[in-house]
Symmetry: C2
Subunit: 338 residues, 2 copies
DNA sequence: GATTAATAAGGTAGCGCTATCTCAAAGTCG
DNA sequence: CGACTTTGAGATAGCGCTACCTTATTAATC
């Protein structure tokens, strides 16, 4: 019988660590995974051996043997929006130091793409998933349910048995903006929305409801499914001025649009806030430097990422978070534009 | 002997596909990986069986058996800069349809963090790595060399045996800006840089060299290692006005800074471009909407991502790209601010 | 037509790790 | 003090796939 060439990677293996520590492989495995049933003295020997050999576990072998990886999947609708970047960073800051690795999936606000990502990434057997909002295809939801992987939902809230979510009330935020504009004496309000994901619509609803509560006529709406951008903001602002020239208060569904509108106003000589008050959403970096400085709703996107990751961790430990739907609130930052 | 409970995942396996197709497992494996030595007829049978069973390969098993994953690691210095987002998206657009999955590592412009990410992700046995620039710790470079994983470098160019890179000449871009400002009659030039990564310094060098070539005094420099932001741009602009009030042309190392400066100029009543010409870098979305519309250098960041991914693919096939250092150029977009 | 070379398919043996079971030793209790 | 539980460690057997070697078949060469 000829010797087959080794197919090994050359990296130190658990077997070598175990041999060096004078214990069995499985004991070494348990020690390195901090499983309680190992004598502390043995555990120390194992850790010393691992350090001496510069042992790094092989995640593929681990995943294959346990049918569960150390990866956590995070699905966001866009990377182009700075909002989600901050959420992602916070998620990574929580998970990476704890030995998880974060897989990022960007579905470009498309349900079919999200479904495809879920299908694809489930084959990696992630140990947990962070999702944005509740709006997804039935197939996607079924895939997730069948996989039995713990999920935490970000950005939106829903009080429902078995649902763990971290976010804030988009409706309440929308209402707050309406109340603010009305407190400034604005009566001819408008809402400008792009992209039109579930959260934009929720903000719109909250905004309109607050207006209805004081028996004002509903806000004029300009809505487009186009992706949001600074340029689009300028266009929609112009459209609004043409269609409803006497508008005196606008809530843009996000800051990008509001930025574009502000530029256009400067160019056209439309006085903000003298003639029209403008409010954005998210309070992105730069909102406070705009001319005029932009009133916006500061959303807790980083904290949402952080707490979503922590909630997922507790799910992974078999615990249920005390508050399954965690409301992190928001804050209206009033500046010159209103 | 008691029956052990199955540890299987429940998902269909290659063995089932093979059985259904009436071939051996290894033939099924080869057929699904499109390895040439399989009879097309058998291959069809295998593919049909796989489809019928909704078979999805187990990446962990694949990685373990072959000591090589289907993952490609991309390391970028920041996600907060929109520039890299576009590069990442282009990379993903090339690699995901071809069955690779993209691992994103963000090292926050810190060499130690990059090193840590490399160390960590190498344990996943990625089949290729995309890196940003050439500036990294020696340890990191050694780790990469020892791993023997194909690498492609993005953003910067270097003519060197065995180095595959895709980018453009940062120096040439800097020079181009200087020439443009001088062509507008500007003589008292300044350079404002933040973050100060290698690429910012290269742009600065190109800028200064172009100025030196026509025997003008060197540009005044304001340099700070702080992370770049709109707010910082305003601060640095004010500092520049105080320290060198007669400056008549400024090159900001990126658009964020230029945005902040523009806002501050509007606020202070400094006339751009009448009093000072301003040029940014990257031509981020929004540059064309600024007041005044910002002159900027449009960088091919998406194309860089695309070509870097393609070059990596050819390395994976054992080919060497015809042009190992691919210069994708840049374009000065002249607008109102200069 | 015998020998060699190329080709295609399959058998076998892991890759490196962990789940499960087994067993010995120690602790617990009526 | 014997029967029962608890505890810690090890033996065993895969997880699902692919690399390597071998063998069967066909094509090419002398």
């Amino acid at each position: 019988m000829k010797d087959r060439p080794s197919r090994a990677t050359g990296r130190p293996t658990l077997a070598q660590v175990a041999a060096r520590a004078g214990v069995s492989q499985i004991t070494a495995s348990r020690a390195l995974r901090s499983i309680a049933t190992v004598d502390p003295q043995l555990a120390t020997r194992v850790h010393d051996a691992a350090k001496a050999l510069a042992y790094v576990p092989n995640p593929a072998a681990r995943t294959l043997a346990s049918a569960r990886s150390q990866s956590i999947l995070v699905l966001v609708p866009a990377l182009s929006n700075h909002l989600f970047i901050e959420t992602l960073e916070a998620v990574q800051d929580v998970l990476r130091p704890r030995g998880f690795d974060v897989l990022i999936g960007n579905y470009h606000y498309r349900q079919d793409e999200e479904e495809e990502l879920i299908r694809n990434y489930l084959s990696f057997q992630p140990c947990g998933i962070l999702l944005t909002g509740f709006n997804r295809s039935e197939t996607a939801a079924r895939l997730l349910a069948n996989a039995g992987v713990p999920c935490v939902y970000m950005m939106e809230l829903r009080q429902e048995e078995g649902i763990v979510c971290v976010g804030f009330s988009q409706e309440a935020a929308g209402a707050k903006v309406a109340e603010h504009l009305m407190s400034r004496g604005r009566r001819k309000l408008a809402f400008v929305g792009a992209q039109l994901d579930a959260r934009v619509l929720q903000r719109r609803d909250g905004y309109q409801q607050a207006i209805a509560r004081v028996d004002l006529p509903p806000a004029f709406e300009i809505m487009t499914p186009e992706p949001s951008s600074v340029e689009l903001g300028g266009d929609l602002f112009n459209r609004l001025l043409t269609e409803h020239p006497n508008t005196d208060g606008i809530f843009f569904c996000n800051d990008d649009l509001a930025f574009g509108a502000s530029f256009e106003a400067l160019r056209k000589g439309v006085a903000i806030p003298a003639q029209i008050s403008v409010v954005g959403f998210n309070d992105l970096p730069g909102a406070g430097q705009m001319v005029p400085r932009l009133t916006s709703v500061r959303t807790p996107r980083a904290t949402i990422g952080e707490h979503a990751a922590l909630s997922l961790l507790s799910l992974l430990c078999g615990e249920t978070p005390e508050i399954p739907a965690l409301d992190l609130g928001f804050k209206l930052i009033v500046r010159e534009s209103s």
